[in-house]
């Protein structure tokens, strides 16, 4: 069905374009004279007076909650590596960006008492990573996090909000364990699973947790 659009009947004065010109000039002049620079993302354009442009390296973007940045390994408050090298993240990773080298039978012992092991090497190819967050989701130890700014213990000065990963070659974009731990920072562990397990085990004397069985 055809719709008949009712055209507005313009007066002679309006048809001279002069009111149109004047209104156009008023609007553009108003915007032209709004010299305020942009605040960070959340406050921007609240009253339509701020510049929409973010002067990027000088002004940083506020990462919203739930943002999925680059996956990094975290340490607990005792600076111990939380990862126990279970390789679930490696298994779940859709683009196969994670590669974990387990410590092997006589590798370095885990930092935390009670934890069975920790990875000898942990590599994430940031060029392959699709930042889906499956690794964070699957991790039973809360040891890997997509970099974002809302978890407990987040330090605005030290922690990086990596939404702009850069590198000059492919090798540089493969992040190893040290780099991942350094960038991941500290994640305050409230539960301290392994301390409790060790205590339980010691109380029950069922198994010498934390001691290397071979050493006996």
């Amino acid at each position: 069905m055809a719709i008949k659009v009712q055209r507005v009947k313009l007066s002679l004065w309006e048809r001279l374009f002069i009111p149109t010109l004047w209104n156009g000039f008023k609007v553009t002049l108003g915007h032209f004279l709004s010299f305020k620079k942009s605040k960070v993302y959340a406050e921007k354009n609240k009253d339509n007076k701020f510049k929409a442009t973010l002067s990027y390296p000088e002004e940083l973007w506020t990462v919203p909650p739930g943002f999925r940045g680059a996956p990094y390994l975290v340490s607990d408050q005792d600076a111990a590596t939380k990862c126990v090298s279970c390789q679930l993240c490696e298994f779940v990773c859709p683009p196969k960006a994670i590669r974990i080298t387990p410590p092997g039978e006589d590798g370095e012992a885990a930092h935390r008492e009670g934890a069975e092991k920790m990875p000898k090497e942990f590599e994430i190819d940031m060029l392959r990573c699709i930042f889906c967050g499956y690794c964070e989701e699957v991790c039973p130890e809360e040891a890997i996090y997509l970099a974002k700014d809302y978890y407990e213990g987040y330090d605005d000065e030290k922690m990086r909000r990596d939404y702009a990963l850069t590198g000059s070659n492919r090798e540089e974009m493969i992040f190893n364990k040290d780099k991942l731990l350094e960038r991941g920072g500290t994640h305050h562990d409230r539960i301290k699973k392994w301390e409790k397990k060790t205590a339980d085990a010691k109380a029950q004397e069922t198994f010498p947790v934390g001691e290397n069985p071979k050493a006996e």
Partner: protein, 350 residues
């Protein structure tokens, strides 16, 4: 050192001075102005749209033209296989040259030393200008034809119709000016406006028609039919790349400068200001340079207007554009001629 120069015949001296004036006017004044009007356009449009605009290259982004130029030169100069090669190469030059040629007859100042501050003091200045301006349509038509592709073709068809239509209104709007002045020489037009009675006050209708026609002639919004990014991709320069595209782009700005200069001369009194003796022919070099500065200042005013209007008004529909051109401005310009003629007959005639 200077002896050999005084030994030359007046004709040879004239040739040397003319060459000097051309080189300085084109390479030291017009081309930098073209480059910086592109930056001005980008900054002003950014401010109007609540953005910041290019501010990274040099202080306040002032070296942006250098970066742009370098980029254009480094781009691949691509010629489509189906394009008509000779015309394809010719079109950008044809778009750029008329804009620069127009400036030859514009008096940009009174006197610089002993030399008149105009490259060619033609006694048919305005006819020359209108003739050259109508050449600029060929650049666009050739580009559209040579590209052998539908968007450029549509763009060039639109532009040829538009530019030819508005040329008529433009030509007719200046007739009353010359009826009042009684001379076709552009220096004489300025002479006439020396007393501060600029022709914008005496011929406001002619000024408005000329201004609108100037927008249409230079393909600026709200009359940018030939380009019409949202409809025709890029219009006539869709198939162009690298320096050839840059020539079209700069040609547009050079044409804007040319028509701005014409409007300054015809309606805003050229290099004169009606006080402090600035409306008399300069006696010293400093005074001459100041008057050139006044001229450029008035010109920049018009450039600002060109840029500002682009963000103020939406594009006209094609039939509306033709409607305004033929049914409004041409009759209005004709009426203006008749009224001016009657006025002149009553006051000066008999």
């Amino acid at each position: 050192m200077t002896n050999w120069f005084y030994n030359l015949t007046p004709n040879e001296q004239f040739a040397i001075f003319s060459l000097l004036k051309i080189v300085i006017a084109v390479f030291a004044v017009v081309l930098p102005m073209v480059a910086y009007s592109v930056v001005a356009e980008r900054r002003i449009s950014a401010w109007i749209q609540d953005r910041i605009g290019p501010n990274r290259v040099g202080p306040f982004g002032l070296l942006q033209p250098a970066a742009d130029g370098l980029k254009f030169i480094l781009k691949e100069d691509f010629t489509p296989a189906y394009a008509r090669k000779a015309y394809f190469w010719l079109a950008p030059a044809v778009a750029m040259v008329p804009a620069l040629l127009t400036l030859a007859v514009i008096p940009f100042g009174s006197k610089l030393g002993s030399q008149q501050a105009v490259i060619a003091d033609l006694n048919v200045g305005i006819l020359f200008t209108l003739g050259i301006v109508s050449l600029s349509v060929y650049g666009i038509v050739l580009a559209g034809y040579a590209s052998n592709s539908k968007y450029p073709f549509l763009g060039s068809i639109r532009s040829s119709a538009q530019m030819i239509s508005y040329e008529i209104a433009m030509g007719m709007s200046v007739i009353p000016v010359f009826m009042l002045v009684g001379d076709l020489n552009l220096s004489a037009v300025i002479e006439y406006q020396k007393n501060g009675m600029w022709l914008i006050l005496k011929q406001p209708i002619a000024f408005v028609i000329f201004l609108v026609a100037a927008f249409a002639e230079t393909n600026r919004l709200p009359f940018d039919m030939p380009e019409a990014e949202s409809e025709l991709v890029g219009g006539y320069h869709t198939e162009y790349s690298s320096m050839k595209f840059a020539l079209f782009f700069l040609g547009e700005y050079a044409a804007m400068i040319a028509v701005s200069a014409m409007m300054v001369v015809l309606f805003l009194g050229g290099w004169t200001l009606p006080f402090a003796g600035l409306n008399e022919t300069a006696t010293s070099l400093g005074m001459g340079l100041l008057q050139v500065g006044i001229f450029i200042g008035k010109l920049l005013l018009f450039m600002g207007l060109f840029i500002w209007v682009r963000w103020m008004l939406p594009r006209f529909r094609y039939d509306q554009l033709m409607d305004i051109g033929w049914k409004r401005f041409v009759p209005l310009a004709l009426a203006n001629i008749v009224v001016t003629a009657i006025y002149l007959y009553l006051t000066h005639g008999k």
